[in-house]
Every structure is written in C-alpha cells, then in structure tokens.
Point group: C2
Chain length 359, copies 2
Amino acid sequence: MVALSSAAQEKEQKIISPDVHPDNTVTFRLKAPNAKEVNLELEGSSSAAMARDDQGVWTFTTKPLSPDFYSYTFTVDGVSQVDPGNALRNPNHIWQSSMLHVPGGSSPWEEADVPHGVVHHHFYRSQVVGDQRDFFVYTPPGYEPHSHKKYPVLYLLHGFSDYADGWTAVGYANVILDNLIAAGKAKPMLVVMPLGYGAPEILQVGVGSLDHDTLRLPNYQKFTQALLSEVIPQVERAYNVDKKRDSRAIAGLSMGGTESLLTGLNHLDQFSWVGAFSSGGLPEDFDHTFPGLDSKANQRLHLLWVACGTGDSLIKINRQFRDWLKGKGITHADIETPGVHEWQVWRRNLVEFSSLLFR
Amino acid sequence: MVALSSAAQEKEQKIISPDVHPDNTVTFRLKAPNAKEVNLELEGSSSAAMARDDQGVWTFTTKPLSPDFYSYTFTVDGVSQVDPGNALRNPNHIWQSSMLHVPGGSSPWEEADVPHGVVHHHFYRSQVVGDQRDFFVYTPPGYEPHSHKKYPVLYLLHGFSDYADGWTAVGYANVILDNLIAAGKAKPMLVVMPLGYGAPEILQVGVGSLDHDTLRLPNYQKFTQALLSEVIPQVERAYNVDKKRDSRAIAGLSMGGTESLLTGLNHLDQFSWVGAFSSGGLPEDFDHTFPGLDSKANQRLHLLWVACGTGDSLIKINRQFRDWLKGKGITHADIETPGVHEWQVWRRNLVEFSSLLFR
C-alpha cells in the first residue's frame, strides 16, 4: 500500500482496462492526452490502432476472444508500456507486458474448485554459477511429507528472459497439474522449476546471445551442471521422490526446450522422458551437440516429445532437428500446433506432455 | 518470453532506468516524446519534475540515496505509470509501482549468503468467504518435516490493496527472517502470510471503504473467522508447529495492523504476542471494538507492540488508541518512527518486532 499519491491514483482507476464484456469482446483503454499514436499489441492478434476520445483516452475493442490468458502491451508514440490500470502482469527480466484474462470454459489453466497442490519457493547459493538463485517445487494435492509414497518428478524449464517463476506466474503450471490430476488425466507428480541460466550474463547481452556459442554453450553447460549437482540433490533430500530414471522427466520452452534436449538426451542415465516446446538457441550441428546419440536410445527413452507452433520462426530449426532424429532412427513424437512463440502454445504443450508422463 | 515485438522492445531497452551510480545517486529515464509534463514520484521524496532532452527522453537524477528499496512511479501528463524499462515491480491490486533497489549496506532486507528458509504457497477454497484464496508459509533454515522439533508461528498480515504475497514480494519478510536468524537476532519461527480480505469486495469500493462500518466490519470479522477456522488448522496439520498461545504471534501493517489488534486482543486464548504497524481503518469506539479488554490482559500478553510513522496521517488514531490502552492500564510498547505510510517503515517494523518474539 502506497499512500502518497493514492487519491490521485485511485481517481485514475475509473479508467477500466481491460474491460471484458459478456460476449467476450474486450475494450482496452489508456489515458494519454498528448500522445500522437497509440497501438495495442495483443497476443494472437495484429497490432491495432487505438482511437482517441476528447478526454485523451485511447480505446480499442476486440472481436470476441476465446477464454484464455493473453499478454498485451500498449505502444505509445513508439514506446512500449504496460496497462497502468491492470494489476495482472507477466514477470519478465526484459519484456514487460500486462495480462488479459478472458474467463470461462473449462481450460486446464482456469483455477477450479479441485484439490490444490502447494508451490514451494527455495533459495540457495550456487557453487556452479556463483550466485544466489532460486527454484520452485510443486507438490500435488495429497502430498504428505510424512508418508512413504514416492512421487515421480518433472523438471520444467522456462525460457530466455523469464524468472524462475515463469511456469507458475505466467504458465499456470500448478493450476494445470491440479486440474489434470483431479480429472485423472495426469499422474500425481512433483514439478520442479529451476532458474534456467547457467551464465546469467546472457540476460545483459540480450536474446541474440542464444545464437552465438560464446555465451550459449557455457550457459547450457553450467545450467545442466547446476541442475544435476545442486537442484536435484536438494529436491531429493527435501521431498519424497522416486529417484529412478524411469520416474524422472525433463521439459522446457524455448531456451528451456534446448536445455531439456541437451540435458535429457545427453544424460539418459538420469532421464527417460524428454519434452521440448519451441526450442530456441539449439546448436545446429546436431551430431556434435548430441555425441553418440543413436537408435539405442529408444530402449531407454519412454518419450521424446518435440513440439513447435507452425507460426513460430523457430519451426525451421525444430523441423531440422526432428529430421535428424528420424535419420538416426530415434523414436519421437513430431508435434506441430497452431501458434507462434508465446505462452498460449506452451500451456497447451504442458497439458499434452504432462498427461503422457509416468504411464 | 514474448517474441512478436521483441526486436522493437529490445531496442527500447537501451534506455536504462533506474540507473544507480557508484555514489548512490540514481538517474531515472522515460521516453515519452509527445508528453508535456513528466514527474517522478519516489518513496521518501517529493514529486520531482523531469527534464526532456531532444530525443524525447525525460530524465531526473536524485541526490545520493541510502541503500534500500524504494517504490516509484512516473506521472505523464497527469497519468501514473510504471517504469517500462524496469522489471522490478510491486504487485498490488490497485496501485501499480516500480521498485528501485539501491544495493549495499548490511540491511536485513538485503539478500545475503546465509542459510535460506523456504516460502510455501498454499491454495484452498474458503468456506467462510466463499472464494478460492491463498496463503504463504515461510519455514526457517533447517526446518525439517521429519523432525519432532516444534516451531513458534508469526501470523503476518498485509495491507489494503496488497495480494497475499505483499510481505514476501515487497516486504522481503523471508529475507529479513533469514538474516535475523543467521545473526542470532530472531528465533527460528514459521511466518504465515494469509490473504487479508474477509470481504474482498472492498477492493472494488476502494480504500475509503475502510472508513465505513458497512464493509469494514464484515471484512474484519470474516478475516478473523477464516484465519482461526481455516488457515491455522491447515498450517498446524501441514507443519511442525507449537500450538500453544505462548508460541503464537500476530502482526500486520495498515489494514493488517487493525486485523492483528482485533484478532489478537479479542482472542487472547489464541495469541500472546500482538504487533500493529501503522494500523488503518481502526474503529474509533475502542470500548466497543475491544469489549472487556482491561489490565487483566497484561498477564496473558507477552508483547503488545503498537507502531506508526510520525509522518503518517494515521499517527493520530494510533496515538488515540495507545492513550486508550494507557487509560485501561494495558502494558504495550509505544513505537513512533520516522516515515510515512510506506514499506520502508514496515520492513523496519518487522525487523524490530520479530526480534522480540518468543523469548
């Protein structure tokens, strides 16, 4: 609670945005009296010019939208900003955006009246990376520290620019698992969401750094090392988990998709379920990136699930990688979905992938 | 990760704000080419006019600031907005603001290389309020579910407009406890941070609703009921806690300060340590609000700690309340500190109050 300018700010609150109407059209509003041009950038839609009224309030109303979560920003005279009237925002190191929720439907990412798991936030000093960092652990409904029941674990990795809370705060992974488990569509499991940067300085350099080996390779290597030597041991000490490779999965989105492939396929002694959603920054020399990987892996892999949206510019490298897998005779699921490089795709990926695990 | 406008947004990132210099002066920058007037509202400072350069970038540089966390916003032609270049923000239902971190010093809210506790995020359906809601539980370093050691518990309440994560995301309560415990200045304890709204519709009405009994009384009553009949039983089932009143404290800020007084002082069978930081929305008829409370309470209260900043407009009602306590012969700590109605005050309150507990 910040009191200093509260009266002024509370008055501003009368500008309602986003304003979801009963027919699922949505009106966005921004007061910017001296702006010359304001655009709405909404996930899944083209940039839309907003219109100014005589009070200096810019408005745009969408066509009816499917119930879902949508990221959006306003561009005011060329400068991107979040919606000042909307408390729902996507935490992100680099790209700031607001969140629109069009409620309704029975999507697995809609909070429902089902038993809920718990999300545990852990903090530790990484010897591998040399920083203070964090990870999150989802325990399913009914998880009981004092029981002897052992759970399988999905290690779930965020993308470049996300914080460690990407999969919970934006991906609603805990809500998705709650709902799938309640419906009998996913096995009760732990989901561990570690910080995905082995070389956090790539955040300063920007997303382009994932196209160059100087930073991306140390970033991937140290991530894998921190996961295997620091995060997994902490998780297995603190929680009732089945430590066998049959009960250990790894998956992630974008940078985290690449990290899942690198960590999973190069450590088949540790993981037997691997998922990659819209992998980004994947080194193109696959023979060198996955040394020795061949069809013998089929005996060890319960699932290799490689997905990408057809509207994503990364579809090309993902197709090349799947072709390489095919050439090597490595069994995998070829998944192409509608959509671009955004969370609406990854939530659906998680729903599908997690439903297949540990069966 | 949002890719659509990433190139454009990444380019904007070249505007660095906030820019903390080695001498602890801070430069704020905002690109707003067509704005006529831009002001910086910084916690602890007066509103400051920013100056425009020929690129449309508005700038202001502060005097040297003490290491601390500071909330701030920009006011652009009368409209409040967060800093688009800064990922650090304060989650809040109503007032959106960015966060400046001036690092350095050994303040207890600075993350340090000490053993860390874990923050657990719980979700449940409240029968009392009739909604899906959440609470957070901090377990201290060394907490071990399988041990028989029982911990005391501080129930710590946020203010009006905060989410349940107010005390962790903005107040750094977990960092503060980690540091105090490592220094031997606080006893290892659990800190439970529940959602503080008994009648969540007050969020729609605004902060003024805390001045009127129609909404505030049901809000307080149902909060107390949900805490006593829903949150405490869940906590005591899931964690190793000492259930005796000697090991149970309650404290909060602003609306949460009032809730701590109402819940604590009217349930001395349950709580024996009570703290109120900058209490807001406190009903003025104290005799009616605390029926039967008199000096006999001194035998049951280990601590009643009533604090307010001298620059806070709520200092008046807090002084009246302390006078009433004095008149009743109820022992309490009269705490007046510098500062207004802001988090810099409440972090310091928590440091002082938690250091006194369970001794």
